[in-house]
Amino acid sequence: MKLLATESDHVEGEEPGCPPRLDFRGRLHDVREHRWLRGWKVAPEQWEPHVIDRPDKSDCMRGGSFRISRAISSLGESDFEAEFCHGVAMHLSGGSRVEMPPGILEAITASRSILELEDDWDDQGSPRYSETTWQRATDFLVRQADFARASLGRELPVPKILPGPQASIDLHWKLAGFELLVNIPSDAGQPTTFYGDDYRNSCIRGNLNPAEEIRGLVVWLLT
C-alpha cells in the first residue's frame, strides 16, 4: 500500500484498556478535520483536542501524538492499518489490514490544491472553494470506492477531482468505454447532478445524494 504524506508512523505506549497512542507525521489539517477512517465514522470530538499546532506554513507536522478514538480501539484488532482519505496513514500494531485504492487516495490528495484558489482566482469573478464542499465530494468518492471494493470486489476507476463552476466540485471519469461527470454543488441544499454515457446511445442522468452509496452508478461504472 502506498502511504501518502506520511513518514515513520508508529504506535507507542499502548496499554491494555487504553486507546492506543500514535505518533505520526502528516498533514495536521487532514487529521483534525477528518471524519472518515476507513469504514468507521469518527466524530471530530472523539479526537483529543490538543492534536498539535501547525508548526509551519507548509502544513506539515514535524511530529506529535494523539489518542485514537474508542471507536477504533474497541475493535480489538491487534494489527490494524488505517488511512484517512486525505492520505494520512496510521499503523497500529498487529493483524488485519484495511486499504484504499492508491489511485483514489492520490486523486484526493492532489485535489486539495483546489482549496488554495482564492476569490476571483480566474480573473472572472469565480469564488473560492470551501472545505465543506471538498469534503462532501471526497467523502462521496470514498463511499463509492468502498462499496465497489467491499460489495463487488472491484476497484472503482479513479476520477479527476476538479474545480467546478460556482464553487462546486466536479468528479470526472473519462475512460475508453464511458464518461461520467458528477457535480457536487457548494450549497449542500442544492442537488448533486450527474450525467454519463458510453459515447453512443446509452446514458444515465439525474440527481443523487452524495451521502449515500449510489449502487446503480457504481455498477454502471464497473460494467
Binding site: 482566482w121 469573478g125 479527476k160 454519463g196
Partner: protein, 131 residues
C-alpha cells in the same frame, strides 16, 4: 455602434481558459461555465486568439481554445449569440468595460450534461498554456 450579427454555424468562437482549470493541459467539462448571463466568448470574425487572451487581466495565465458555433448549437439548449460590448458600457458594479466588437455569449444553463458535451465537441487549441 456595432450591430448584433448572426454568428454562422460554420464560424467559431474563442474561449479564454485559466491555467488553474487545465493543470494537465487537458480540456475537461469544468472549463465550461457561466459567468453572469452566459459563457463569454469572442467571435473569431473580429478577434484573434492573442487578442482574446490579452483581454484577461493577466494574459499569460490563460490559454485560448476555439469552438465551432455549429457544434455548440448541436447541444440541446445552447445558443451562440453575438453580444458586442459598445463604447461607454459598464458592468453590474458600474465599472467601465472595454469595447469589444467580437464579444459573444453561449446562452443556456451549463448543466452537468451540457458541460460534458461541450468538452467533446471539436474544440482546438489556439494558444496553449504557456504559449
Amino acid at each position: 455602434m456595432w450591430s448584433k450579427e448572426v454568428i454562422p454555424d460554420s464560424s467559431s468562437v474563442l474561449l479564454r481558459v485559466h491555467k488553474s482549470l487545465i493543470p494537465d493541459a487537458e480540456v475537461r467539462p469544468n472549463v465550461f461555465r457561466d459567468q453572469g448571463g452566459g459563457m463569454s466568448v469572442d467571435w473569431r470574425e473580429y478577434s484573434t486568439a492573442l487578442e482574446t487572451r490579452n483581454r484577461g487581466k493577466i494574459p499569460t495565465d490563460n490559454a485560448v481554445i476555439s469552438l465551432p458555433a455549429g457544434g455548440i448549437r448541436q447541444i440541446e439548449g445552447l445558443e451562440v449569440q453575438h453580444d458586442p460590448v459598445q463604447e461607454n458600457s459598464f458592468d453590474q458594479n458600474g465599472n467601465p468595460l472595454r469595447p469589444n466588437r467580437a464579444h459573444a455569449q453561449v446562452i443556456g444553463e451549463k448543466t452537468t450534461e451540457r458541460r460534458l458535451k461541450l468538452s467533446r465537441i471539436d474544440w482546438r487549441w489556439e494558444l496553449r498554456p504557456g504559449d
